[in-house]
């Protein structure tokens, strides 16, 4: 296998975008090509989950490759639910590593605000098991609510810990010009004040409004290339060093231990193994905090903290931007937003930015190793990536 480098990155603003889905996917590719100085690609992967259902458009990759005038490059859509982004990066990685392609553009895009919040939630709920979950009214927030209650009971996580994740990530997002939410919040405001009863209602008890990520439009792109191409670009050398994926039962109720996220544990382990580093080597991480509980649990399953102690590390401030292991300095899904197909690539975008030292006001101190966890379904298909800076 050849080494694979992230040579160009691009991103749109996240939030509500008033231009078509194909342009949300294409614009970050233009930015990434400009960033890398490249003009052509051998292959385009488009990570997307909802074009057919939400936007009534199929064959998205063909539309994107054409509007970018990149024909006759190959082009496919990669769909793996909310982990489509990292799955597409995985495909791009193997395309370059195998020696078949030298330059692969991997973009992710979603235009979910075309429908209202409830319809968007219903669209994402089509991920659940049709006859054993979906028919009951099960949605992703309800699976997260059930998971959170079991976690609280077993490990002593409280609503206050969850609110600490929300506050940290939304306040990190204040320094990210592309983030969906630019709204400063405090524990007092969303948990303790009388107004919290109305500004932070239950969505899926014990999860409240501020424990859930927003529904966003947005796109992000990372261009992957061989070392030979990467050296010619003259950009800092950031290697996609580890790719790990693991699946778990479709039905959440079939998991042996209801408080485990085994697919995260296995995907992270595989990614670290390929990269030749361990969790203690990681300097900056982007985790899939679609719900606040997930950041805490993923930080444990990835091996950064002991199982059941992620909330204690959070209490100690270890995951703050200036902490021992900054998590979600971009704002995470909570603050940056969660256009499902784009999220895994937006995570990689942030890590490349940090490893290059180009993250501006939110730059963490001299990171060498970065990690992402992109969580599909309710943990039934997880892709983790490890990036390393080489010069």
């Amino acid at each position: 296998m050849r080494d694979v480098y992230a040579v160009g990155i691009g991103i749109t603003s996240f939030g509500r975008l008033e231009y078509p889905l194909s342009e949300i996917a294409a614009y970050p590719v233009m930015m990434a090509l400009r960033d890398s100085g490249l003009r052509e690609v051998d292959q385009l992967y488009v990570a997307n989950m909802g074009s057919g259902r939400v936007n009534h458009q199929t064959g998205l990759a063909s539309a994107v490759v054409d509007t970018l005038s990149l024909t006759p490059a190959g082009a496919e859509v990669i769909e793996n639910g909310p982990a489509s982004g990292a799955s597409a990066l995985k495909q791009g990685f193997f395309a370059v590593a195998s020696g078949v392609h030298d330059v692969v553009a991997v973009t992710g895009a979603e235009r979910m605000r075309e429908v209202n919040n409830l319809e968007a939630t219903e669209f994402v709920a089509t991920l659940t098991h049709p006859i054993a979950e979906s028919i009951y009214g099960v949605t992703l927030p309800s699976l997260a609510g059930m998971f959170t209650r079991a976690y609280m009971e077993k490990y002593g996580v409280t609503s206050r810990h969850l609110a600490m994740v929300a506050v940290k990530n939304q306040n990190n997002a204040l320094l990210n010009e592309f983030a969906h939410l630019h709204q400063e919040i405090s524990i007092e405001g969303i948990l303790d004040s009388p107004e919290s009863m109305t500004n932070n209602p239950f969505v899926a008890d014990p999860l409240r409004f501020f424990d859930c990520c927003p529904v966003s439009d947005g796109g992000a792109c990372v261009i992957l290339a061989s070392r030979e191409v990467a050296e010619k670009t003259g950009r800092p050398l950031v290697r996609l060093a580890g790719v790990g994926q693991a699946t778990d039962t479709h039905c959440v109720h079939e998991r042996e231990e209801p408080t485990d996220l085994l697919a995260v544990r296995r995907a992270a382990k595989a990614a670290f193994q390929m990269a030749g580093v361990g969790p203690s080597d990681v300097d900056v991480a982007e985790l899939h905090d679609a719900f606040t509980i997930l950041e805490i649990v993923e930080s444990e399953e990835a091996g950064f903290f002991k199982k059941g102690e992620g909330h204690l590390a959070l209490e100690r401030g270890e995951t703050q931007r200036d902490g021992r292991l900054p998590i979600n300095v971009s704002g995470g899904l909570k603050g940056r937003g969660h256009p499902v197909g784009a999220t895994g690539i937006a995570q990689a975008h942030e890590i490349v930015l940090e490893l290059r030292g180009e993250a501006g006001e939110r730059q963490v101190e001299d990171p060498k190793v970065g990690f992402t966890c992109n969580f599909g379904g309710f943990g039934n298909n997880v892709v983790c990536l490890v990036f390393r800076r080489e010069n």
Binding site: L118, Y136, A204
Partner: protein, 115 residues
């Protein structure tokens, strides 16, 4: 006639699955249809639950109780929880009822009440 929800027993190793799967998760037996349907027991223990307030549009109620129950035979099931004050570990008993009506289709599933 009482309605049932079925688990599926592998004819080769006896492992029970809910819901149905095409290949046995225990022994990997992959002959087609080598499972016998077994009605699920109705009594069990509540493992976790939530009150869902952001409901799919076809639910005309302000909130919906959902939970995971471990049934007497160890099989777990997701279902609706019609209990005023649910607690983890409480004994519940299920009935097969209409759990969702979409357009002209009614779907049956397990609704649990305090045992």
């Amino acid at each position: 006639m009482s309605r049932e929800i079925y688990a599926y027993r592998c004819r080769k190793c006896g492992h029970l699955h809910y819901p149905y799967r095409m290949v046995c998760a225990e022994c990997g037996e992959n002959e087609h249809n080598e499972f016998d349907p077994v009605p699920l027991p109705k009594s069990g223990t509540l493992l976790t639950f939530t009150d869902l307030y952001a409901l799919p549009a076809d639910f005309e109620v302000p909130k919906l109780g959902l939970g995971i129950v471990e049934l007497e035979n160890g099989i777990r099931i997701t279902g609706q929880i019609a209990v005023a004050e649910p607690r983890i570990g409480m004994k519940v008993r299920g009935e097969v009822e209409v759990v969702r009506t979409e357009a002209y289709d009614s779907y049956y599933g397990m609704v649990f009440r305090e045992a």
